[in-house]
């Protein structure tokens, strides 16, 4: 005897699973959003490969290769889906925001004292998250309502003549910072890649995180530059839609062979209504 310990306490009948689920949902939505953002950046940057590439990508997402003809509604639906993710993510993340003036004060004082990179980065995440909520919504609203206006000329016109580039410029920095910090935090939160030397590996992860952020920001700047350049050059022809080079020959051929087909020279998408 003697070494008997205290009995295990009786557990209440069922666990409150919400905290775990909400935490996982926050991470999962964040993860999907980050992966989406990176993909999105690659897709949008297709403009750097030429207008045709960008045109192809845009049509791809309207389902043209699979469905035979483009359905911009797909873009709208997808944008709604992303917006939903953002809302879910934001609502969950909102729980973590300082929720009173005194908490803000405490936090500011704490961060000011500590001068600790990862803590300050979290604050950056809160601020960028907050900003994203508005900025991303504007962007998405635009896409949801005008899903067809995506293409080398349409996008460039929006960026330049539609004067959306300042929004994109800010959005770019904001979202890449948020995504980079977010994914770094997520990886550590769940203990991935920490290996047997967690301190060292965390430093490595930290560097990778910055490398990714910088990479995507640079890529984004070039991309934005490309849109702005095209937009500026195209400023006098706003509204004109791009005809990809392969379409130009193909459609020329079609016009010659099938005169019933309406000329699509002024529309990027044959189905786009205007």
């Amino acid at each position: 005897m003697q070494s008997a310990n205290k009995p295990i306490p009786v557990r209440s009948a069922h666990l409150n699973r919400w905290p775990a689920w909400m935490d996982m949902a926050q991470g999962a939505t964040g993860l999907i959003l980050v992966l989406f953002m990176w993909t999105h950046m690659f897709l949008v940057s297709s403009i750097l490969l030429g207008k045709d590439a960008m045109y192809f990508v845009a049509r791809l997402f309207e389902g043209e290769p699979m469905l035979g003809k483009p359905y911009p509604i797909l873009v709208s639906l997808f944008a709604v889906f992303i917006l939903t993710l953002i809302v879910v993510h934001a609502v969950l993340a909102l729980r973590k925001f300082p929720n009173s003036a005194s908490q803000y004060r405490t936090l500011h004082q704490h961060l000011g004292n500590l001068k600790h990179a990862d803590s300050s980065l979290w604050y950056v995440q809160v601020l960028t998250g907050f900003a994203l909520f508005f900025l991303a919504s504007v962007h998405l609203y635009q896409l949801i309502t005008h899903p067809a206006d995506i293409g080398p000329y349409a996008s460039s016109d929006r960026v330049w003549s539609g004067r959306v580039w300042p929004l994109y410029l800010i959005l770019l920095f904001v979202v890449e910072l948020h995504a980079g910090i977010g994914i770094y935090r997520l990886v550590i939160k769940w203990g991935l890649f920490l290996g047997d030397n967690a301190k060292r590996n965390r430093k490595i992860l930290h560097s990778i995180k910055w490398a990714l952020t910088i990479f995507f920001i640079v890529l984004g700047l070039f991309t934005l530059g490309a849109y702005m350049k095209i937009g500026a050059e195209h400023a006098d022809r706003v509204g004109e839609r791009y005809v990809p080079s392969y379409h130009q020959t193909e459609s020329n051929h079609q016009i010659q062979t099938d005169l019933q087909v309406e000329s699509d020279a002024d529309a990027e998408s044959p189905a786009s209504p205007h």
Partner: protein, 661 residues
């Protein structure tokens, strides 16, 4: 005037105090623990090296048992120990380790197969058996024949204390932190609790209890150079002394540890030497074999410390701006061993010395380390003169260490004492002796006396700074009542301490603000500390022999004829000096009659009864030769009726069956 009532009051939240409290709690009594600091910060947490218990699991521990542990401990004590208590201790220590194992201490374990180890400066391969794999392992410590020290890396005390403290939390034992007992409530016969000062608010509170236990640790801070925590000021011991009734035992028995880092005085564990570390001098010469060819670095602490000081005196110390020191070399143990088994040592070297012990030598010099003396109790842990007052752990002198404690025996003692004293305190509570009879007038008087005393420091005519007096006292003790003692230095120490005591009457406390008031704390503590210092110095002056850690240059031999006795110090109210009495140790009852320790000085003055007793012992041993060791022990010195019943049973070992229930 606030008063709290409880069955048992335990003063001290270290290993000893907490284990006592758990024992009492499990017997169904109310208990309150007091501590100067959160209990997990008690100095027990600082024990690095380990805890001795004869488990005999590892290959170098094979053949170990209670008997071997008993012999080592008695020899270590230089025959100053109470052998009954040592027997009780060695039988309980394995139980204590195993109980702690069940409670969660992650003792290092035996790993099957071959291992590289360093013994006596040479690399050797040790092979552990399949059968022992996963059992609690042990390391080597000074003064032992077997590798017997169970350990958790070099954070043994930390792990033990956290486990113990968590267990106390599990048992719902209230620990009143930052509460300092400043006086015992007693009527000259019976102790009924303590007057306590709240170190957060400055308020005085009465804790009235049927039984009170002092478990306040050592009094290392009487010295300037000490490995002890700053809270080890001996306050529990001092309030027992101030009753005028309870006695303190063997206060002059003060241990100096060979390897405190220089100059900070922070300990690096004996495990460093146990694991194979060496002591070197200014020339890089390993000098211990010159003095102690047998045990070398692993002779007992008193012996090694003296050799080091002698060696420094012979001009072989390393000069530095702070004075002289020697080197501890653990480079040969290798980085891996240091990183896993000596982590705290590594951290201490990194932070305080800015060195990497795997590459550099560690500057060391002996410093005060352990207080063998303390509140004198019987084997139950109860004061023979003040009923209802118990003591356990380093603050007690039930006397299992005599004049020198072996490394690893102290944390073992704290837990064992806790297990035993907890039972006896519970017995006391359940007996009619435990009935409480204290009058409220007595409580009020005790309270008022303290309140008045504290207020007195505010008097405008006072001028002395308590911290300056404390520093002078500490320097005095370190210079004159340390490793080498002689009449001249000791009597001058006594004289100067008395002068300090007079100056201490004039201590002024400059702030009267509410709250902890550190100035006031220093003021009342230093007055008590000077009393303890006087007990140590006067005891040392009168003891004209050398025994264990007490070494007199003018009386270099152990003298069993005249000094095989325990010093008892009491302090009558208003006195300026302690009253010393002596309590004999009986050679003809000893299981191990006095002899040579196996290291250190061989010459001695024998007790007239020693030879006869030795013959008796030899005869009994011959009779049981090769037979039942328990029967032989029983015939020599029966002790088991002194243990609480549940602790009497035998311990299982790999080759030996224990008593099951």
């Amino acid at each position: 005037m606030k008063t709290i009532y409880t069955d048992a009051l335990v003063i001290g939240g270290g290993l000893a105090g907490l284990r006592v409290a758990i024992g009492i709690r499990r017997r169904g009594h109310d208990v309150v623990v007091l501590s100067l600091v959160p209990p997990k910060r008690s100095h027990s947490a600082a024990a690095q090296g380990g805890m001795q218990a004869s488990l005999g699991n590892s290959s170098m521990g094979q053949g170990d048992n209670e008997d071997v542990h008993f012999f080592d401990t008695v020899r270590g004590s230089d025959w100053g120990a109470d052998q009954d208590v040592v027997r009780m201790f060695v039988n309980t220590a394995p139980k204590a380790v195993r109980e702690l194992a069940a409670w969660g201490v992650p003792w290092n374990r035996v790993e099957r197969g071959d291992h590289q180890s360093v013994i006596d400066g040479k690399n050797v391969t040790l092979t552990e058996s399949e059968e022992a794999h996963g059992l609690i392992t042990a390391r080597n410590f000074g003064g032992t024949q077997k590798w017997r020290t169970s350990y958790v890396s070099d954070g043994t005390g930390h792990s033990m204390l956290y486990t113990m403290s968590n267990q106390a939390i599990a048992e719902d034992i209230p620990v009143h932190e930052r509460m300092e007992a400043v006086a015992l409530i007693h009527d000259g016969e019976r102790c009924s609790g303590a007057v306590v000062r709240n170190l957060k608010t400055g308020e005085l509170i009465n804790y009235v209890a049927k039984s009170t236990c002092i478990a306040t640790g050592g009094y290392g801070r009487l010295y300037r150079a000490t490995t002890n925590a700053v809270i080890n000021e001996g306050m529990g011991t001092a309030i027992a002394l101030e009753t005028g009734v309870a006695a303190l035992g063997n206060m002059e028995a003060v241990q100096f540890h060979p390897t405190a880092i220089f100059p900070a005085g922070i300990l690096v564990t004996e495990g460093c030497r146990g694991d194979g570390g060496l002591l070197l001098d200014v020339d890089g010469h390993r000098f211990m074999p010159d003095y102690e060819p047998g045990k070398k670095e692993l002779a007992s602490r008193d012996v090694v410390s003296r050799c080091m000081e002698t060696h420094i005196a012979s001009g072989k110390g390393v000069q530095s701006r702070f004075g002289e020191h020697l080197w501890l070399d653990i480079r040969l143990l290798g980085k891996k061993h240091i990183d896993t088994r000596l982590r705290e040592v590594k951290e201490i070297c990194n932070y305080f010395l800015g060195i990497e012990p795997a590459d550099s030598l560690i500057p060391v010099r002996p410093a005060q380390h352990y207080s063998m003396g303390g509140v004198r109790t019987d084997f139950r842990g109860e004061s023979p003169t003040l009923k209802g007052l118990f003591a356990a752990g380093e603050s007690a002198c039930w006397d299992m260490h005599g004049f020198n404690r072996l490394g690893g025996n102290s944390v073992a003692e704290t837990v064992v004492a806790g297990m035993i004293v907890g039972e006896y305190m519970s017995d006391f509570l359940e007996s009619s002796a435990g009935d409480i009879t204290v009058s409220s007038a007595l409580i009020r008087d005790a309270y008022n006396k303290q309140a008045k005393y504290m207020a007195g420091f505010g008097d405008r005519n006072r001028t002395e700074n308590p911290l300056h007096i404390m520093r002078e006292m500490q320097e005095l003790m370190s210079a004159n009542v340390a490793i080498f003692r002689n009449t001249e230095r000791l009597s001058s120490a006594v004289e100067k301490l008395q002068q300090l005591a007079i100056r201490a009457q004039k201590i002024s406390v400059r702030s009267s603000a509410r709250g902890a008031n550190p100035d006031l704390v220093a003021a009342y503590r230093v007055q008590k500390m000077i009393k303890l210092s006087l007990c140590v110095a006067q005891g040392a002056l009168q003891r004209e022999e050398s025994r264990g850690a007490h070494f007199r240059e003018d009386f270099p031999l152990r003298n069993d004829k005249d000094w095989l006795c325990r010093t008892l110090a009491t302090w009558s109210e208003g006195a300026t000096m302690p009253t010393l009495n002596y309590e004999p140790l009986h050679v003809n009852k000893m299981e191990l009659p006095p002899g040579w320790r196996g290291y250190g000085v061989e010459d001695r003055v024998d007790h007239p009864d020693t030879a006869a007793r030795q013959a008796e012992v030899d005869a009994v041993r011959a009779k049981f030769e090769g037979g039942d060791r328990f029967a032989a022990q029983e015939a020599l010195m029966p002790y088991s009726d002194k243990l609480p019943e549940k602790l009497r049973r035998r311990n299982a070992r790999l080759g030996e069956k224990g008593d099951t229930q």
